[in-house]
């Protein structure tokens, strides 16, 4: 086998008194795709950041072409052909796509910027990625997947020998993921070493040559990817036998608690009508950009919307999120970083922010807050030190905290947008069980998800949206992957209608 280009050799890393990586070794070889998998907080992102020179190891060695190396800066690592795409976006929101891609390495003609050349090169890179966003759009206005493609284009621009990608597909649709995987294969052909992580094990199975599995900051298995199937990967990650990812469906739902008819969210959704029953999980599927998020934000008073809404039979007008909450209706955002959590604050302040009145009798009862945090940490298995700011928790643990925060206000009707983005498979199982448990308790739940399997596995009924309208509704066995895709893409089910 070829010599490794970049490797970790017995690397440990501590934050303050807490050691999060314990003697990790990992080798990236040219022309191979290496997948790093593990539970939330296992230390994948930390290991990647050390490889890419973003953080130094506390002990152990980073080897580049066999020689011990300490990158003085990210710039130095980049200059030696190492690029990293982060789990959370690392783009300058106020700059355009092309300004971001060329940030720090602008093309010049004399003293002035060579804009036409940069624009042309940007277009070329984006076309390679099947991304049709205008190169002069501001990044702040882009969809998550376009942002991700911009990140990837930025990495492709550099002459990369080693490309490190931290959960690049978490925000991509399956079609976009396929495009990305094609680029990854092309890079592999050209002899680049690629390291990536994902909680979608089918992707890992599909592309990885080498595989490393981490648990609690240590490598538990490393070897050829062909030796493990998806089930074996999941079990090794979680440390127990994994079966039955989705809970059994519940009993027949109760009375209607939410009736929406003719909901309009200007610019995003039109004439949305549906009902929701007590004890029911309604899945909402559709392509990214089909207006799912906006519809439910409109419903919950987070953006302007018109239409008829009845909660438990009573007509209501919801203009503000707190009015929705007073009616027992709550929306859990898909965007934990900019809308879900206060990244500079601790776990306690974040947990109780939405339900603060429950902890306030004139003054805030911090003891009760701490008790609630204890309970949430136990119930949702949130891992990570309590002393750190929430921004330093691993991505999946942030998601669990966000979930716990919303549930603390005990809404009767909950809209959960992308509940398991960036969550490991063991925790997914727990969260699915929890969502089903909420339904069984008599709550009504809407789950918006881009993961087809999740919608099918979890929901009792599926609403499919397309271009801001309800394209159809599928219940029980009719909610197959095929049927959902057809509705979402607007393709008629030809054979079935004939038969």
């Amino acid at each position: 086998m070829s010599e490794p280009v970049l490797a970790l050799d017995g690397v440990s890393r501590s934050f303050g008194p807490i050691e999060v990586l314990h003697g990790v070794s990992l080798a990236l070889r040219p022309g191979r795709v290496h997948a790093l998998i593990g539970e939330n907080g296992a230390g994948k992102s930390t290991a990647m950041k050390i490889l890419a020179g973003y953080q130094p190891p506390t002990s152990g060695t980073v080897r580049l072409d066999g020689a011990p190396t300490a990158f003085a800066s990210i710039g130095e690592a980049e200059a030696r052909g190492i690029s990293m795409i982060h789990q959370e976006f690392n783009l300058a929101e106020q700059l355009t796509v092309e300004q971001n891609i060329f940030l720090g390495r602008e093309l010049k003609r004399g003293l002035l910027l060579d804009k036409p050349a940069m624009r042309a090169r940007t277009r070329e890179l984006l076309d390679l990625l099947d991304c049709h966003v205008a190169t002069d759009r501001k990044v702040s206005g882009l969809s998550n997947s376009d942002k991700q493609m911009t990140e990837i284009a930025k990495a492709l621009l550099r002459e990369t020998r080693v490309l490190i990608m931290d959960e690049p597909t978490a925000v991509l649709t399956s079609a976009e993921t396929a495009v990305l995987m094609r680029q990854v294969r092309a890079l592999r052909e050209r002899g680049a070493a690629i390291l990536f992580t994902s909680h979608k094990l089918d992707e890992v199975k599909g592309i990885a040559d080498d595989l490393t599995i981490m648990r609690d900051g240590a490598v538990v298995w490393s070897g050829d990817a062909s030796e493990k199937d998806e089930h074996a990967m999941a079990s090794a990650m979680v440390g127990r036998e994994m079966r039955d990812l989705y809970p059994a469906k519940g009993p027949a739902p109760g009375e209607v608690v939410l009736e929406v008819s003719g909901l309009n969210v200007p610019g995003h959704a039109e004439d949305i009508s549906f009902t929701l029953r007590r004890g029911e999980i309604l899945g909402v599927a559709g392509l990214i950009g089909s207006g799912r998020t906006e519809t439910f934000e409109g419903l919950c008073g987070l953006r302007a919307a018109t239409g008829e809404v009845r909660v438990k039979g009573r007509p209501v007008t919801i203009r503000h999120p707190w009015e929705a909450l007073d009616l027992g209706l709550c929306y859990l955002t898909e965007d934990r970083k900019t809308r879900g959590l206060l990244l500079r604050k601790g776990m306690r302040e974040n947990l109780t922010l939405q339900a603060l009145d429950r902890f306030t009798h004139g003054l805030i009862d911090t003891t009760a807050e701490e008790a609630a945090l204890d309970k949430a940490v136990r119930e949702f298995d949130i891992r990570g030190s309590r002393a750190v700011r929430v921004g330093n928790l691993s991505g999946g643990n942030q998601q669990k905290l966000l979930f716990a925060k919303t549930m603390l206000s005990e809404p009767e009707i909950v809209v959960i947008d992308e509940p398991t983005r960036g969550v490991d498979i063991g925790t997914k199982q727990q969260m699915y069980g929890f969502i089903r448990g909420l339904a069984t308790e008599g709550r009504a739940i809407v789950v918006i998800s881009s993961e087809m399997q999740e919608v099918i596995g979890l929901a009792d009924r599926v609403l499919v949206m397309r271009r801001g309208r309800v394209a159809g509704e599928l219940a029980g066995a009719a909610a197959s992957e095929d049927a959902i895709v057809r509705l979402a893409m607007g393709v008629l089910p030809a054979e079935e209608t004939v038969a």
Binding site: P321, W322, T338, R339, G340, R344, T366, A387
Partner: protein, 323 residues
């Protein structure tokens, strides 16, 4: 919080205050005398009371540049109303109460105006308060016709104890300042309002998605600040008994500086009232020490204060990067 490492942003301001106290005491023996101490505290009270309100505004991600001219305008208004009510009410407690009510009402309205423009119409706080700063300053100049508005002499003598009098040898401004600080500290630390201010200042989107009444909380911070400006003015007017276009000049900058020196983040998201108190004391002690000793010219007061503000921000930045 439990980390054993000493946090410079916590210790820094306290340390600076202690150094100033030691320096002052060693340079001039009368520095620690009761008279000088109460004098410094009473003079700090106006800025201090305003700075406590400013702490909430800044914590919630806002800013108010208008407080100095607002104070001048309220002082002018108060004097005019009291003077014109004199013939009917005569010198006595009712007329003083009337003046106080006018000051509080004017503060409330002024704070509301700033707050509504900022929180409901979404105009940048800097712009709104820069505008109102100019408006109030010009209004007081107009009311005073370019000169000075003076409280009727008899009335002034009657009203004076509100500044000079007090309880157990502690003057009213100090007592009121202490009360405002205690209430402010509790509100910031352990009420939903304080928590919401910090949340909004950290990320107003997150606050919105967490069902926090963002616009209302923002508005409240400006209203509270306006009211506190009214309170400060009530205590200030009896000191000189007059208002002029120069009244309250640069108070806004001193208040903002005190807040920042105290460790509240200028970009919002974190604030502490006790820090602001230390900030106010540091600023006024510098002036006091320069006046009591002749090592450095008192004209350099502003330069030293400026250097301390920059230093405070540098210290805060270092600790944040270290975390």
């Amino acid at each position: 919080m439990k980390s054993p490492k000493i946090q410079m942003s916590v210790v820094g301001p306290v340390l600076a205050l202690v150094v100033l106290l030691v320096l002052g005491a060693s340079l001039n023996p009368s520095f620690l005398a009761w008279d000088n101490v109460t004098n410094v505290l009473a003079r700090s009270a106006f800025i201090g009371i305003i700075a406590v309100g400013m702490t909430f505004v800044i914590t919630a991600g806002g800013l108010d540049l208008s407080v100095g001219s607002m104070a001048a305008f309220i002082a002018g208004l108060m004097i005019l109303v009291m003077n014109s009510a004199l013939p009917s009410l005569g010198v006595g407690i009712p007329i003083v109460l009337l003046g106080m009510a006018v000051a509080l009402a004017a503060g409330l309205v002024a704070g509301c105006l700033n707050g509504i423009l900022i929180s409901r119409l979404g105009i940048e706080a800097f712009i709104v308060t820069l505008g109102s700063m100019g408006i109030y300053r010009s209004l007081v100049t107009w009311l005073a016709d370019g000169g000075t508005l003076s409280l009727d002499f008899g009335l002034r003598t009657f009203y004076q104890p509100v500044y000079y009098g007090g309880l157990f040898g502690v003057s009213w401004p100090i007592i009121v300042f202490a009360l405002v600080v205690i209430v402010g500290e509790i509100a910031m630390r352990s009420t939903a309002f304080g928590r919401h201010c910090a949340a909004i200042g950290s990320n107003d989107q997150v606050a919105k998605y967490s069902s926090v009444k963002v616009a209302r909380v923002r508005l409240t911070t400006y209203v509270v600040l306006g009211l506190l400006v009214g309170v400060a003015t009530i205590l200030y007017v009896p000191r000189l008994g007059s208002a002029s276009p120069a009244t309250g000049l640069l108070w806004e900058l001193e208040a903002i500086a005190a807040v920042i020196i105290g460790g509240t983040m200028l970009r919002g998201g974190f604030g502490r009232v006790w820090g602001t108190v230390i900030g106010v004391l540091i600023l006024s002690l510098i002036g006091n020490i320069l006046n009591l000793t002749d090592l450095v010219s008192p004209y350099l007061n502003g330069a030293i204060q400026g250097a301390i503000i920059v230093l405070a921000v540098i210290l805060q930045r270092d600790t944040r990067q270290g975390q």
